[in-house]
Each structure stands twice: as structure tokens, then as C-alpha cells.
Symmetry: C2
């Protein structure tokens, strides 16, 4: 168990942004929330999977809603806390620790604030190892944990419990319908898991991973090194493309940001055409017609100068970017996982997933 | 406490149809459901408000959804039972009796089936004394009972608990969003009430009222009497118009049936033009431009031959109908009630409610 510092939280913002693979919302507000709690004396304690008791009651936490909304509609702050209390009351179990549902984007940082408010330790891991748009796309759910009863609470104080649902797809459907009514954002927690289950199926160490990623970028910027090179070294990543955004189709549909970004190469990729398909997150990267990387591997668009991630909402014509590929965790590469988070699950029947190192 | 007979249930179908004031869905399926349970030996016990214990735990039950959907998507049968169990578990209270949330339409009959399945007595009363389209429009809610925690369950077995919500309008909003996802229909129950509260604020005796209305119509048809006259006598009603439907605008919007039926008078109303504004239920009746009756008073369109109610979904060009006005219960005429169920609440800022007897 260790206590996160202000510098850790600041680094996590950068790291969670990178691991968000374009989506997951902006971690900036979660950072402010956590830092504000820390300034008032609260502590953010991080517990490793090893230290976690097998019998511990662990609950995964995050916000649900459209990333674009979360940039204008700020959280009230206790949404997730209310949802945790509702589940404690409903199940009669007292929660021992929280774990981020996804490390990428806004949900990577928000749990730090919740750890500070509740005093509960935050587990060093998460359910995605990146960001994904839907709730059934967690390793917790993929490997058999039933998310129900789940609870959501909004900024007004409305709390809904999803008690018995057929499956996680129904949870996604009903919670999504409610969050639209709630103004586009709400806190969400799923049924408690045992420490033993979390140790086995959480993507491990991702809070530390996000922190280290951020520290590497901060360090590189300070030392005038190439931050992108540092990221690649640390994550076994690879620069898939460098280019300028020449065209951008983007629309909001059914609560999701969808679109395609076209790139004209420079540097090593001069005269080549790249493209990134977007559905909240970056889903598929192509050079010409050829797929070079796809979900669940991480496709990250970075500002070529600063090494900071550019989320899908703030992509703009003319930006000079590097497209990075980072291998996802093996827990996301199993046949079972690919049914839920592989290209086919995102509406690409013709793309057979290959680990991007193979392309 | 008395046991309802097959004839009572059959009469209730007609009576609930009339009290549905055009909406509330078709009571036919609820009748079949109740009769089927009775054929298998189950009993439907009716308990009067007087007999109800002050400390009894009473829960209001019904279905939520678009009436048009309920005619094609038949209930699985245990939706409401699952919702009752979810509330019992959540509150730790055992339910002693159920009460129909609304006596008009489908929700007038369905509780009889639920009484049969669960063995719980059904209270002789309801929360509307007619049908209304939204959940905050009950006397229970109008006079201060908090509906939360409420629960809904669908035919698949999905159960959602609305635990803490700001108010009944939020319940309406979130439950409506969920029911759309659930396929347009679900069972719904609200937080338990004390027997003492129900005795004071339920619209009293409406199960018996529906039964007696149906028996009067059945009797009149058998004896070749005018059923409409019988209904008026029994309910202090008045024939507001007799005419032929000459024009019908009707559309589905935001889950509701909205429209207007135009009538050309015959008999005592020859050469006059009538019209009925519809929003699931019949809301406003006019002769020419002049309002003759409005919500919350009951405006009922009856087949002029049989005295059976014609719901808004089955209104057709050319039907010969009588338009009846029946005074609503005084509980719906208070200033407090009219804010929720008066013409203004339905989007008629210019119509000042007057008891229709005064027009």
C-alpha cells in the first residue's frame, strides 16, 4: 500500500489520456477533483493486487456518459459515492476497496478522487487496461463476473439499482437509457467482486502504468528528449505513422462519437495516406486500404511535439500527430475476450484480429 | 373481504374499459390472465378500505408502457410479481395487500391476476379513479407519498429499482426510458404505503365500481335496455354528445398516442360539431370551439349500440358513438390535484378546469 503524491496524480492525467486511446473522456476534471480532496487533507492510497486479501470486497467504479458531455457538465462529485452506498445497502456487504473500471481517460482519474473521499484504497489495476465505450467490455465481465446488482447515481441525487438483469448487454442498454435522461453523465458501480477474482482477472498494475507513462512524458519534455520514443520504449509500442490530419469526419450518433480521421504522412511516412476509424476510441488504423492495427490493441494519436494524447473530440484539421500502437494485455487477446472487444464486436465483420506486432 | 367470481372479472373488463376514458390499454389480456389463474384454483380476494389494517403494508401495482404495444406484446405474467419481490427485499417489508395504481384500462384488470398468483388480497380502490398517462398522476403521489423505492421488471426477467429519486417526475422519466428499451411494456410497483394512508388517499371502491358498471352494461344488453342510460344513472354521468366520427388525426409521439377525433352530431346533437382531444386518454371535449368537459373529469367514448368503451387506439372513421361525461372523484378536484392532473398539466394553459356539471 502506498500513498499517491500530487506529482503521481499529475502524471496519471497524462498517462490515462494516452491509455484512453482517443476516448474515455478527459481526465483533467478527475485530476482537479482528486487534487482538491488531497489539498483538504484526504489521502489516495494505492493497494497492489498482491496485497489484496482474497476475501476483500472490491467494487469497480467509474462514470458513464458521453465524453463530449463530460467536458461541459462537470460532476457534482459524490455520484459514485452514492452508488457505492446503494450497493452496500442492497447487498449487505461493506466495500473494502475500489478499482477503476477503466484506466483510460476520465475513468482513470476519477477513482483517485473517490478513494480520497471515501478513504477506501484503490486497487492498482482496472477492467480494461485502456478505454472502451460499453460496460460489458471489462475483463471482469468477460471472464464471468456478473455485474448485477449495479447502481448509478446522477448529480441531482437520483440513484437507480439494476438488480437482476439478463446480462451485461442489458445493463449497458438500460443504464445508457437512464444516463441520457440524467443529462448525459452519471456515476456507476458494479456488483462487488472478491479479492481473489480481482487478482486473477483485473488488468494488473495499470494505475502505476499510467503514472509511469505520465512521468516519462514529463521527464522527456523537461530533458528535451522525444517523448514518443520514451512512451514506445516503456510500453513496447511502435510508431505506426506520423502525419498531418487532412480530413475529419465526425458525428454524434446514439450517444457515441463516430468518424474517421485521414492523415497525410511526413517523415518516415512521407507520401503515404493513413486513416483512423473512431467510435469514441480509435478502433482501426490503416495505411492505404491495409489494416495495420485494430482493437483491442491500443491505437493512440499523440501530439508530435508534446507527446500528449489527442482525444477524438479535440482532433482538428492540420494537427501534426504520431499514431502509436501499443499491445493490449493478454487478458484481452483470448478468444473469449475478442468476442466482446475484437473488431467484429465493433461492427467490422471483415477484420480478423491480429496482434499488431504481427502486421 | 370477498372473493371475486368469474362474472365479476368479466364485468370488470367492461367497467375498466369505460373508466379508462379512452386510454390505459385494453383490459382484455388482464382478464384472460386472471381467469386463467382462477381456473387453476387461485382466488382473487377483494378487501375494502374499511377492512384494511392501519399498519398493513400496501403496494400499488400496474404495468407501464404504451397501450398500443400492450396489444401485441403480451405480458409474460410474473413481471409485477418480480417487482413486488424486489421491493420487499430492498425495504425489508413484507407486502400485505396490493392496490391497482389505476382502475381504468389494462391496469384495472392486471392486479386481479397478480392477486390470484400471489394470494395477496386486492384493495377495493386505486390511485386514479380512471386512467392517466404518467406515474406522478396518482392520488398517492399527489397527497405526499414518496413512490421510491419503486421497481420495474420486464418479460425477460430484468429488474430495476429506482431507489432515491428527486421526485415522481424523475421516476416517470427514468422508468419511461427503461421501458422503451424493455420493448415497450413492463410491470411496475411503487414504495409500500401504510394501510392508514391508503384509506385516506386511495380513490375508494373503484374495483367494485368497475364491476358494477360492467354488470349494468351486461344487464342492459341482456334486457335490451339502453346501456348508456344505465351507465349515466349509476355514475351521475351525462351524455355530452352523440355523433359519427368524421375525421381522425392520430399519431404516436414520445411514447404517447396523440390526436383529435371530430364528430358530426345526430339525435339531440344534430347539426352540431363535436371534437375530442386525445393524449392516450380523452382529455378535452368541445362542441364547436366551446369546452364542455376536461380532465380530470372522465370523458368516455362509447359504442352507441353496445355501451362498450372505444379506446383511442381503435377509434375509426364512421363509428357511431356517444360521448359521456362522468365527474371525477373529489380527491382529483383539489387545487393540489389539479396542478398535476388538470388541463394545464396536459399542455392547455388556456383551459381553466371547471367541474363539467357546471358547464
Amino acid at each position: 500500500m502506498r500513498e499517491l503524491t500530487v506529482k503521481d496524480i499529475e502524471a496519471m492525467e497524462i498517462g490515462a489520456g494516452i491509455l484512453g486511446t482517443g476516448g474515455g473522456g478527459n481526465p483533467y476534471y478527475g485530476k482537479l477533483h482528486a487534487l482538491n480532496e488531497m489539498r483538504q487533507g484526504a489521502k489516495v492510497r494505492l493497494i497492489s493486487l498482491d496485497e489484496l486479501d482474497d476475501d476483500a470486497v472490491v467494487i469497480s467504479v467509474g462514470n458513464i456518459g458521453a465524453p463530449a458531455v463530460s467536458m461541459e457538465k462537470i460532476c457534482e462529485g459524490n455520484e459514485i459515492v452514492r452508488a457505492i452506498r446503494a450497493i452496500e445497502e442492497n447487498t449487505g456487504k461493506k466495500v473494502d476497496a475500489i478499482i477503476p473500471v477503466e484506466i483510460g481517460g476520465a475513468n482513470g482519474l476519477r477513482p483517485a478522487a473517490i478513494a480520497a473521499i471515501t478513504g477506501l484504497p484503490m486497487v492498482d489495476g482496472d477492467g480494461m487496461g485502456r478505454a472502451f465505450p460499453e460496460m460489458q467490455m471489462t475483463t471482469f465481465s468477460i471472464y464471468g463476473h456478473c455485474s448485477m446488482p449495479a447502481a448509478m447515481s446522477d448529480s441531482h441525487g437520483n440513484t437507480v439499482i439494476f438488480k437482476d438483469l439478463i446480462d451485461e448487454v442489458w445493463l449497458e442498454r438500460l443504464a445508457r437509457a437512464c444516463v441520457v435522461q440524467m443529462g448525459g453523465g452519471a456515476g456507476m458501480v458494479e456488483a462487488p467482486m472478491s479479492g481473489a477474482y480481482v487478482k486473477r482477472y483485473a488488468v494488473p498494475g495499470t494505475v502505476t502504468q499510467a503514472t509511469n507513462l505520465g512521468l516519462a512524458v514529463m521527464d522527456a519534455n523537461k530533458q528535451k528528449l522525444d517523448p514518443i520514443e520514451q512512451i514506445c520504449r516503456q510500453e513496447n509500442g511502435q510508431v505506426l505513422f506520423t502525419g498531418k490530419i487532412t480530413d475529419l469526419e465526425r458525428k454524434m450518433a446514439a450517444g457515441f462519437t463516430r468518424g474517421i480521421a485521414s492523415l497525410e504522412g511526413f517523415g518516415d511516412f512521407a507520401e503515404q495516406q493513413g486513416s483512423v476509424d473512431i467510435q469514441n476510441e480509435n478502433l482501426v488504423f490503416r495505411i492505404g486500404e491495409e489494416v495495420k492495427c485494430s482493437v483491442p490493441d491500443l491505437i493512440i494519436i499523440l501530439d508530435v511535439e508534446t507527446g500528449h494524447a489527442i482525444t477524438t473530440e479535440v482532433l482538428r484539421y492540420g494537427q501534426k500527430v504520431a499514431v502509436l500502437g501499443i499491445p493490449c494485455h493478454p487478458l484481452l487477446r483470448s478468444t473469449r475476450a475478442l468476442e466482446v472487444v475484437g473488431p467484429k464486436a465493433f461492427g467490422y465483420p471483415d477484420i480478423e484480429y491480429k496482434p499488431f506486432e504481427i502486421y
